[in-house]
Point group: D2
Chain length 499, copies 4
Amino acid sequence: MLMSGKEYLASIQDGRVIYIGSERVDNQVTHPAFRNGAQTYAAMYDLKCDPANRDLMTYEENGERCAMYYLQPRSQEDLRRRNRAHRRIANFCFGLLGRTPDAIAGNITGLTMKPEVFDSEPGGNKTNLLNIYNHLRRDDIFATYAIVPPQSARNKEYYSSQGLSQPALRVTAEDDKGVTLNGMKMLASGSAYAHEVLIGNVMPLAPDQKKESITCVIPLNLPGLSLWSRQPFNREGDRVFDAPLTHHFDESDCMLVFRDVKVPWEKVIVHDNPALSRNIYVQTPSHVMANHQCNVRFAAKLRFILGTASLVTQATGARDIPVVRETLARLVAMEAGYNAMIDGQIEAWLQVDHGYALFNRRYLYAAIHWAMENHSPVMDIVRELMGGGQFQFPASIDVIDDPELKETFESLWTAGAFGAVDRMKLFKLAWDLIGSDHASRAMSYEKLFVGPAFAVRNYNFINAPWDEFHSVAEDFMATYGTQEANTASPGKPRLNVAG
Amino acid sequence: MLMSGKEYLASIQDGRVIYIGSERVDNQVTHPAFRNGAQTYAAMYDLKCDPANRDLMTYEENGERCAMYYLQPRSQEDLRRRNRAHRRIANFCFGLLGRTPDAIAGNITGLTMKPEVFDSEPGGNKTNLLNIYNHLRRDDIFATYAIVPPQSARNKEYYSSQGLSQPALRVTAEDDKGVTLNGMKMLASGSAYAHEVLIGNVMPLAPDQKKESITCVIPLNLPGLSLWSRQPFNREGDRVFDAPLTHHFDESDCMLVFRDVKVPWEKVIVHDNPALSRNIYVQTPSHVMANHQCNVRFAAKLRFILGTASLVTQATGARDIPVVRETLARLVAMEAGYNAMIDGQIEAWLQVDHGYALFNRRYLYAAIHWAMENHSPVMDIVRELMGGGQFQFPASIDVIDDPELKETFESLWTAGAFGAVDRMKLFKLAWDLIGSDHASRAMSYEKLFVGPAFAVRNYNFINAPWDEFHSVAEDFMATYGTQEANTASPGKPRLNVAG
Amino acid sequence: MLMSGKEYLASIQDGRVIYIGSERVDNQVTHPAFRNGAQTYAAMYDLKCDPANRDLMTYEENGERCAMYYLQPRSQEDLRRRNRAHRRIANFCFGLLGRTPDAIAGNITGLTMKPEVFDSEPGGNKTNLLNIYNHLRRDDIFATYAIVPPQSARNKEYYSSQGLSQPALRVTAEDDKGVTLNGMKMLASGSAYAHEVLIGNVMPLAPDQKKESITCVIPLNLPGLSLWSRQPFNREGDRVFDAPLTHHFDESDCMLVFRDVKVPWEKVIVHDNPALSRNIYVQTPSHVMANHQCNVRFAAKLRFILGTASLVTQATGARDIPVVRETLARLVAMEAGYNAMIDGQIEAWLQVDHGYALFNRRYLYAAIHWAMENHSPVMDIVRELMGGGQFQFPASIDVIDDPELKETFESLWTAGAFGAVDRMKLFKLAWDLIGSDHASRAMSYEKLFVGPAFAVRNYNFINAPWDEFHSVAEDFMATYGTQEANTASPGKPRLNVAG
Amino acid sequence: MLMSGKEYLASIQDGRVIYIGSERVDNQVTHPAFRNGAQTYAAMYDLKCDPANRDLMTYEENGERCAMYYLQPRSQEDLRRRNRAHRRIANFCFGLLGRTPDAIAGNITGLTMKPEVFDSEPGGNKTNLLNIYNHLRRDDIFATYAIVPPQSARNKEYYSSQGLSQPALRVTAEDDKGVTLNGMKMLASGSAYAHEVLIGNVMPLAPDQKKESITCVIPLNLPGLSLWSRQPFNREGDRVFDAPLTHHFDESDCMLVFRDVKVPWEKVIVHDNPALSRNIYVQTPSHVMANHQCNVRFAAKLRFILGTASLVTQATGARDIPVVRETLARLVAMEAGYNAMIDGQIEAWLQVDHGYALFNRRYLYAAIHWAMENHSPVMDIVRELMGGGQFQFPASIDVIDDPELKETFESLWTAGAFGAVDRMKLFKLAWDLIGSDHASRAMSYEKLFVGPAFAVRNYNFINAPWDEFHSVAEDFMATYGTQEANTASPGKPRLNVAG
């Protein structure tokens, strides 16, 4: 059953423990660091409930409306339906929220499209998986994930030799009811706002890391679990005008700290199997399903970047200078090319097991790779287009609260037809997109959210049909030997290649 | 009616005048510079005739089989049919021939999909266009084009002041039968092999260049017309082994020199209208239809490059070194992304006038732009992967004709399981792909065949929905004013953006 | 006479008017936004006074010690002396302050090295210039500059047609004592801390902008002058640990707003001469002298970036991974190359008029161009090396004030031999270098402080010896005609090129 | 005693064995493939003999004039003398010959500047080294080198298991007189023209490769030694006009094949010591001395590229288009920066053992790295500036031998003030610089002549003062702890960093 925004806000006030440095956050829905973000997610729930969006954002299953992002696709058209729903959400937040509810939903839906992988090795639990999926879908749950060990966990010998507890999350006890977890997991973006979190391992574990292979989906308010937030970007008293994107779209990033957290067995989907805990993402459609949402989100962001950049050049009067126009043209060629890469995933869709349909895997990894490599350069170009524009404006729009300052501001900062306030509004927006703390965090996020560059390249490498590529050249070389001369004698073999 | 390779070879021995420097080429089908290229095109005609390729490469129209590249597409599926035929041809020549028969065929077919453009201004002739199209299609004609003025034509004042004849091709006389042409046109790639050539103007003309606006489709053996070839790359006595790609794929580039060439009216489609002579390409599907072939061709080339590069790293034993593997991964991510951009053009196809279907215009220009920017860097990477490999081999495989040299060669140049001859074969192929004169000509060709970079960027710029992009940012800015503070007061408006 | 840090702090509490948004700053030396910056500049004054640095940072003139950055260089060794003094200051602030006292000092010293330029056209005043220079040098003054019109000033017609006052600073009245100024000038970085400001025009003015050509050096507390600051980055209560660079190095950027500011004639050096107001920088050594300091400053920053990046890779354990080592190697090759470009300016120094010595002009512009193009990519590489490291730490080090949180922090965030606090200290530093608001402002500053990219390229273009370059190719082409064949006949002319 | 060009030509007709494929070259001084190159080297010998160049290109030692490139530098001024002599030679050949006589001369001179390295381990022979150096210097010898094993040598196990002879050059027998060598060495560029060749190992050998560690300097006509050339680029009958750079500057690249070659002990400098055979280059000034010549050579090439590129834009009329001017400005900024990197090596010269002076090591490796990374992009830019220009000209200038073709050529190919022949001359030159086989070989050569990219980066890495870089950040971090707040309390410690 679909939740309204209001129901959603009530549902996340669940007593979860969040720290900002040493400060314990009482209620994220009212705290200045998170309340605006919470409103944004609530608006997103309302968007989905809106009858006007019914066919776009939901589908019917067992007589109930469910969020489209839980749809198991069975045709090219189903892939288009998921794509359109992702697109609507991404446009809503301009691609600035990485962890909207449709993100991890794709991940988990993908797991259910090849559930037998959970039966293929000991420690997997297909039944739990399907029950969890049904619960998420039926109850309109917003799940996030934390699937990487902390950087501090790399040196295991040290901890044992020093008698210290290991930082990486692992099972420290088990009983009839379930497992007990201790340690730390990174990086739960969106965890101030989500209902539940998928705990797991997307990076390969060593065979002896059995206890760290625990994979489960749990509520964020479990006793013993605390969320350690990085520095939030909103502060008491800031004006929306001065940092409008920070205001709405600080999605939060938290380390998850577990102290004797009890997780019942029915929430566990992998246990004591390091290899399986990673393989579930790549041996099922999970990774592809999740990352198609990432592609769509990034495309929405590119549009927003492009619109803002173009408006900035209009405001500075530079848009008609040839080199600026050429720069915008390059950006728009990149934007169109990226969208083409997404649509190509639908045109070249794959028929997979159980009658399911899947986005083209190679095209997806290519698009992820493209975004990872091009986000920073694109942002750098926009920064150059802004010049020093952002530094010429007052520290805050509150200057207009003082009549004398306001008069000076309006007389000196107006530029032809562009009013002082309008210009400042645009440049504050642009700076919040490319230059603020919030923007800078996104610069890093876009680089690493799928994993480090080498991992992204590896996905591309291992999915490439190398034998097919090789045979193109090999078949051609097979058509000639060492002796053929450049003659047109009748007996000379003509090119005859399969191609 | 479809031509066989043999019929094709006979048909191009039509008396056309070709010069290589001061040498007059008697017969391009037997001359060392062109005979191998001619065989390649002949094989391509045979490929199309092959009953096994009937559905892939031809379609039926008025009871006759026609080359698929003359199909006027009326559905997404028709676009796929064209795409597959282009792909077959491109794979056949590894994307190394820019002007295969399907290239200009796309251009002219595109003109016929919006023929009313020819009626929109004086000087256009729709009837002639449709007749020419029917002739090309019905008679299985290979047409090329020459649609750019010579670089020397820029300084018109000079010629009149000096009493010199102008170099740019133009109409110098007219009578009942037709027009008389004099001057020069660049750059007729493939003209040693094609039957006919489209003469026209893809770059804007000035309003006073009426006489240069002549657009027509003519045979390459018209009296008074001569083809001035750039240096051909094949020479008497070369071995295929030493330069296998040069051998098969030197497509020829010729300047066309007109001396009192008479063209009958029925071959003229634009006359005395500078604006129209250019607009026919961009106001009809012509430019998009032609360039989809270019996209497909370049994709085939990328595959060939990638296969060769990967084999080279295998032969040098470097393929498992992490940084090399990472490099191949980047290349393969690029290759997949480029293919996705092509398939995206089909998924996001456009319904255009008269019930015709068209490849997505913005995605197409994005792909063209991508190829233009990335070809050189890709080639440079492959060059780096080869290291000095190509210079360690003998000047020619003819070393093995001498028993003593052969023994030395085989004992010293063999590397483990890779025989000396096999290694040399691979490196000679790779060098012919990235390093030879033939390869270098392609480096320039890929940069300029659609026009200079600024023109390609301009196509992207003018087709972008800027207003839509702007409104994304503008609609967002409309949701807040100067006063909203960072509070969660109940009355505070929530984000409510169309998205 | 050299000032101590204490004297400096006293001297800048001069009643100047600074606004942060609508807030009027009472005293920049005690205000949280500026007090730390002020301390940094004071420490720099103490550094110069330190007897240990006497020979490095000062020289004697007329029996008094003066700051080395006012030295008029008469030999290669004098250039080295200036270089070393700049280097000491740059190292002190890690190149993170763009406007240290030696910056504009170089600019003004450069003007005095060819003072006759001020006599070459009406409106220049050489006597005033030399008196101002002597005052700055003798009184150990810290000057900054503001030499660009506001972006809003481009559309002059609009203002007159609307009866609005023009935003660009100009002379609005004159009398026996001096001129009256109104309008706005951008961008006075460092103006919260400097004593005086050079007002002028580094961008060409139109001939009719006579009144805007005013060039003068004035105290920052003149009545009617106000400084409008961009958002400062320090806030009340922040810990040094959490943002140590922001803490020390927020140099301030202010728009200067003039309301009937009276400037006496003896402070005016150019008046009513648009061309001269710009030419003084490029027709004297001024621009080169000033920008050598920029080069040296950036080199110090590169070292700091490199040291931090390398430590980060040590902390993450990645430093020995081949691809990471290769990345550091690329960075260090860039750093060494950039330093070489600076030292090359001394090796290839120029003898200029009046017996003065000057840094090599072309090499200087080349280094500026290099820095402008490479700063962003370098920063992006460092960002990639950090991965998500910065987000895994608590929002503030104040976590360790709470014993329970401290225990958790230290047990889970410690990584082998690296303590939790030490790791956090390093990552907070690194983030403040590449990711914080402070860091992001620097990203833009490095792009634009010399002017937009096209201006920097233009400096390179106009100083290049094109004729000499052309003659290299032309002289070679003169050695052969159209007929020479590839023969070794005795009469064949051998290569005989001047080279 | 200095040789004249004529003496040089006589001296290299020494019976050496060169193969072009299966063709045995009788006399490289008269063979079409090499005769023009031989003339170029001869002209270079004449240049050095020219009394006008006496002080620039030679110095006196023991009463005899010697080539400057054998000078052991003892001061900054000596470094300048070497630099100027390299520069003269590089300008003579436009940097297009990689192996001029001053190249390996620097290498060997560098070895003699720390000869004790040869005594530091068994197998080194300092006396032989010094004698060889004296011979080369005194007899005005042109030496080249071959110091890399063939790519085929990597898989040693294979050869023994198959009973095949190993391809890598090694000692196969020893006696009183010397060693016997068998196998292959790559890549002896210039070996068709040099007198002697340094055989050695610049890449690390494994400890068990004792027999491959042989390092010696030998004449190129030793019995049993043959030179296997890659495809030469000059062919019988080519006109200079059509490929002027190929004509003069095809320096040759040969694999050296040894069949029972006897080398007397006095020519051996390292024997049976794998580590030493490599360390002699990096533990002495050798590598730095040799590569400074490479820097200077590349700078000459950059100037030639730039002059040609600028002339091409003049000829096409594009030089005043803003984007073209901007492109030339980028190129010229790169050129100036690269020269600055070379001059910086002199300003920051190093005092090394025995009173010798050395170019700055880190700056040198930085310049090598810069050239390796930027050569291809620079060439690609020039290619773009040419557009399709090179393809619009006839295959050969022999068109003007035919009066009728000549008339057509001159009337149509003339462009305003630029005559047809002059335009063609410039474009043929430009194409031979960036696009011909000769140009393409140089593209690869510039990438690999110092070794693969990772090796060049490694030189930069290992010579960087990492501890010094680290301490910059560490010293700063030591100035604050976890508790300091953002206050201006009197007791607050001020920044106090060594800097």
